[in-house]
């Protein structure tokens, strides 16, 4: 900046140095250092221009999605479904275009894919705005439904259409290197970035987005159609994910079911690292794209590994051998998840407290700039909405009183579903094996759901329960097989590992004030990554029988200790009942009594109902939330140890999708996604409903045409739909009393008709 310019228009040109600019420079420097580090460690890969090309090419797809995600996050929303949209679009395109399937032309294939992307975006947007489902629940469900479709439509196989690709060079050229020597996808990404940055920063659409994310209420008062703004954000995000999916189709001329797996993590981490705030109202497209480059670079450095020298002893002689150290594929999310959590903490603890400015002033010996005001003035207000159902409960008596309880529905549904099973397969449903299997599946889910009930009732959420289950199981198995611990020690280590994950969740949420879904989403990836890392390339089976007893039937225990059980009722019961079911029942009873009948239980419900009011009433809501989140980790850890004992091995897919089952169980059982409600009896019934639905869906139906079994992938899609329906029913029927309002309205109309 020249002196004359300063003098001419000092106010306009000398804007204060904003960290945002420094932030971008910092990101670039960090990236350069990382790349150089990668080049030094692994010159074979990072030293070549090919590597640089590949980095930019792979970044371009992530960056395209990150542009859309920036809109969503600035809107104070979140879109977890982008990875599955990316994968699903590639799969649908393959199914439409590939000669082995529908064999459509290129134009209709592309049009249908675009329509699909639009549909997913609209679905997300409508669920979140019009139907008021919390964004993370709605998009998590679309994510899992999308993944279910990907698996179901590929059948777990890759689909290729290399030759047919030559028929449409215009489209498939997009995925290829052009005459200038770089990939066309980079051009597409640059166009999207420039347009996105322009729209977000310079147009009304962008301003509306910032207003909506900054203060939605104020934006509504100012006449901004915030619902449309938020729907628009989801549509942009989903359409850009579609574009990225199509680019991958153009590049690879084929698809595997793994496309886009975990990409939501990469993209959200990119946007947050790029300087956006999950609290909404802050974010820049350029920053997000730099973030995307950084994350992809880290991902590549981790995946490509680095050369090491291994000492190998051959015939008593130690020989150095060049080898390459690489992380197992599953372990990368552990780093990215940690990165996400750190990035989320940067904004409130680093930028808002002006740490760099203060440090700079300190180094120059100048007085530190004043701390920004952060008094305990604005305490977050959460108000639960009217529940008409409770009024009915007031006036009811006897059986009706029971039916008016929030958890009555789940109990009736569980009974009804069991009867459906009985009528479909009377030969099989009633026998001991089936009951045993049902109870076992039930135990795992019920354990997770008990912990989740505490968390959800206190107004938080725990998305990491399934991953924590896997972590605890992996730690137990690893300790026994690789480290040679005895079973008791291994169990303790497993429980500690799982509980530690719960503690970290609690610390991040309560101590650092992150929203629970972001903290536990980070833990979801970290715990799963660590579990995959521990078990990578190892066969963790063949544990001591004393350990396996943790997951056996009672009859096996009696046999192990040499106790004869005479045939009869006791024998039958001990054949159907297993040890873990007894553990679960004990935990359920204690948890149920604490939640329902003690002051601490009341404190949980008060905290979930209105945290501010509970604070004023002298309840230590931080302690309540901390204990609930930690308890959820403990429950998941117990479930993980039992899992290993039951299957006699550890499978990396342990606990997959269980967080979804658990949340659905709690909601069906009378909990509210907004907190303040939940009973253990209801949750147990809800878990029974989910277990029964799962086993009914995988039941072999024998018809005249033959046997039919629904594939597992479709079951997952189905469970996703059930979760979203349960949340919707909770919001609209229980909280708002919509059904009752409709009945009243119809009654009035009928009466009005009579009067006329």
């Amino acid at each position: 900046m020249s002196m004359s310019a300063d003098a001419a228009a000092p106010r306009l040109t000398s804007r204060p140095l904003q960290l945002a600019g420094g932030w971008d420079v910092g990101l670039l420097v960090l990236m350069a250092l990382l790349y150089l580090g990668g080049a030094v460690l692994n010159p074979g890969f990072f030293g070549s221009t090919d590597a640089f090309q590949a980095l930019l090419r792979d970044t371009s797809r992530v960056a395209i999605i990150a542009v859309g995600m920036t809109f969503v996050i600035v809107n104070k929303d979140i879109d977890l479904s982008v990875g599955s949209t990316y994968g699903l679009v590639a799969v649908i395109f393959a199914r439409l275009y590939a000669p082995t399937f529908l064999d459509l032309g290129i134009v209709p294939s592309l049009a249908l894919c675009a329509a699909l992307g639009l549909g997913i975006g609209l679905t997300n947007g409508l669920l979140v705005t019009l139907l008021r489902v919390p964004a993370f629940i709605a998009t998590l469900t679309t994510l899992l439904i999308g993944r279910g479709f990907v698996l179901a439509l590929t059948g777990g196989q890759a689909i290729y259409y290399s030759d047919k690709g030559n028929e449409a060079p215009l489209f498939f050229g997009l995925g290829e290197t052009n005459t200038f020597g770089f990939n066309n996808q980079i051009v597409v990404a640059l166009i999207v970035i420039v347009v996105g940055a322009f729209v977000l920063a310079k147009t009304r659409w962008g301003y509306e987005t910032f207003a909506t994310g900054g203060n939605e209420q104020a934006a509504v008062y100012a006449g901004i159609p915030t619902r449309w703004v938020r729907i628009r954000g989801y549509v942009i995000s989903s359409l850009l994910a579609t574009l990225a999916g199509l680019l991958s189709a153009a590049q690879d001329r084929g698809v595997t079911p793994l496309y886009g797996l975990g990409w939501e993590l990469t993209v959200i981490a990119s946007v947050i690292i790029g300087g956006a705030s999950v609290l909404g109202g802050r974010g820049r497209v350029i920053g997000s794209c730099l973030g995307a480059t950084l994350v992809v670079l880290i991902d590549k450095v981790l995946r490509e590994g680095w050369p090491i020298v291994r000492m190998i002893v051959i015939d008593g002689e130690t020989i150095p051998v060049n080898a390459k150290f690489t992380l197992p594929a599953g372990a990368v999310p552990a780093f990215l998840g940690t990165l996400l959590l750190v990035a989320v903490l940067i904004e409130p603890y680093f930028i808002r407290r002006q740490v760099p400015q203060r440090l700079w002033a300190y180094l120059r010996g100048q007085p530190a700039p004043p701390k920004p005001e952060s008094g305990g003035v604005a305490i977050e207000g959460v108000q639960t909405k009217g529940a008409m159902a409770s009024d009915r409960a007031m006036s009811a008596s006897g059986v009706w009183k029971l039916l008016a309880r929030r958890d009555a529905f789940a109990i009736m549904l569980a009974v009804a579903l069991w009867l459906v099973g009985l009528s479909l397969r009377p030969d099989y449903w009633w026998n001991l094996e089936n009951s045993f299997a049902l109870l076992l599946n039930y135990t795992e889910l019920a354990l997770l759901s008990i912990g989740l009930t505490y968390v959800i009732a206190s107004g938080d959420i725990d998305l990491s329960v399934g991953a924590v289950l896997a972590l605890a199981g992996a730690a137990t198995a690893y300790c026994m097989k690789t480290l040679g611990f005895d079973p008791a020690q291994a169990v303790v280590v497993g429980l500690i590992a799982g509980s530690a994950a719960g503690l970290v969740n609690a610390l991040l949420t309560v101590g650092f004030g992150l929203s629970a879904f972001i903290a536990t989403l980070g833990m979801f990836y970290v715990a799963r990554g660590l579990a995959a890392w521990m078990v990578a390339g190892q066969q963790l089976t063949g544990f001591p029988e004393g350990f396996n007893l943790l997951g056996r039937k009672l009859i096996d225990i009696f046999t192990y200790f040499g106790i004869e059980v005479p045939p009869g009722v006791l024998h039958a019961v001990s054949e159907a009942l297993s040890v873990q079911t007894i553990y679960m029942a004990l935990i359920a009873i204690v948890a149920g009594i604490v939640l329902g009948y003690t002051p601490f239980g009341q404190q949980i419900l008060a905290t979930g109902g209105n945290r501010r009011a509970a604070d004023y009433a002298g309840i230590n809501t931080r302690r309540v939330r901390f204990i609930s989140l930690a308890f959820s980790g403990v429950c998941a850890a117990i479930a993980g140890v039992i899992y290993v004992a039951y299957y006699r091995s550890f499978n990396p897919t342990a606990g997959q999708l269980r967080e979804l089952d658990g949340i659905a169980a709690v909601i069906i059982g009378g909990g509210s996604i907004f907190g303040g409600y939940g009973t253990i009896i209801g949750t147990l019934a809800g878990a029974a409903v989910i277990t029964l639905i799962r086993s009914l869906l995988s039941l072999q139906i024998i018809t005249a045409q033959g046997a039919f079994v629904m594939p597992q992938h479709w079951v997952n899609v189905f469970i996703g739909v059930i979760l979203i329906l349960a949340v919707l029913a909770d919001i609209w029927v229980r909280q708002e009393g919509i059904v009752r309002i409709w009945i009243e309205r119809i009654r009035k109309m009928v009466q009005g008709g009579r009067n006329v």
Binding site: E373, S390, Q602, G676
Partner: protein
């Protein structure tokens, strides 16, 4: 000003000790001066209206009293004891209760659970439900309010009834002072009437009350005294009997340090002929 306060503390009119006395209170938020050397007094069983334009510092003054905000300077005496509350819970131990504008209730819990929020009676490790509902019913009877049932969920109650629950919760602590923040802001006409009746009921039981309100009409109906603030400073203190809504409005808008004399001083001035500050309506 503090001289005047000391002076009128010895007059016959105020033979009773002040239940609350705040002297020279100042409080700033960053560059914003919210309160500047404000004095405040409250007698036992008195209903005081605290009025002023927006940002006059009414709520801030009361939050300084309850300990929700920490004062920069000044003294707070409760029942003659110097205090320095760090949280509202500490002022509660001294018998000061604040009822917030949004009532601060848990909608998902029933009336009795809300009245005993955070201090549910115990029987062993469990909540003593029987005792809780019986005592809640007792509190509601004492307050003479009509809430259908102690078993009803608060979120299904109307705004007026929710406020009754909030008041019931406050008086269940047996407070000496109840502060109501904009109590009539969200109430219907009928609910306001009920509230004013409840306030007189509390006054009869010897509870001093402070109403922070814009609605002078309510204050003139039940109040004993009214105190006006403007931009964080005292601008007036009058007995209801001696003043009119017109005068208070003028104080709120155009009051100065000169008009800020104590209610007793104002009464004395009024009694002496020829120097009435009271404007003719």
């Amino acid at each position: 000003m503090s001289d005047a306060a000391l002076a009128h503390a010895t007059t016959a009119e105020s033979s009773a000790e002040f239940i609350v006395e705040m002297k020279q209170i100042s409080k700033s938020f960053g560059a914003v001066r919210a309160l500047h050397n404000v004095d405040f007094t409250l007698r036992p069983g008195e209903i005081l209206g605290l009025v002023g334009d927006n940002s006059a510092g009414k709520s801030t003054l009361m939050k300084v009293l309850t300990g929700a905000y920490h004062r920069d300077s000044g003294e707070v005496l409760v029942d003659g004891h110097a205090t320095n509350f760090r949280t509202p819970h500490q002022s509660r131990d001294f018998g000061i209760e604040m009822i917030y504008q949004d009532f601060a209730l848990c909608g998902n819990m029933d009336v009795a659970q809300n009245i005993f929020l955070g201090r549910w009676p115990r029987k062993g490790p469990f909540v003593d439900r029987k005792l809780m509902y019986a005592e809640a019913a007792g509190v509601l009877r004492r307050l003479n309010v009509n809430v259908n049932s102690v078993y009803q969920k608060v979120e299904s109650l109307s705004g007026g009834r929710q406020q009754s629950v909030a008041i019931a919760r406050a008086i269940s602590f047996d407070p000496k002072v109840v502060i109501l923040d904009e109590p009539t802001a969200n109430l219907s006409h009928v609910a306001t009437e009920t509230l004013l009746k409840t306030m007189l009921e509390l006054k009869a039981q010897g509870v001093a009350q402070v109403i922070i309100s814009h609605r002078l009409i309510d204050i003139f109906e039940v109040g004993d005294r009214v105190m006006a603030l403007k931009r964080g400073e005292n601008v007036g203190d009058r007995y209801i009997k001696d003043t009119t809504e017109q005068e208070i409005l003028e104080l709120m808008i155009a009051g100065t340090a000169e008009t800020a004399k104590s209610a007793d001083a104002a009464r004395a001035r009024l009694a002496s002929p020829g120097s009435s500050p009271r404007p003719s309506p």
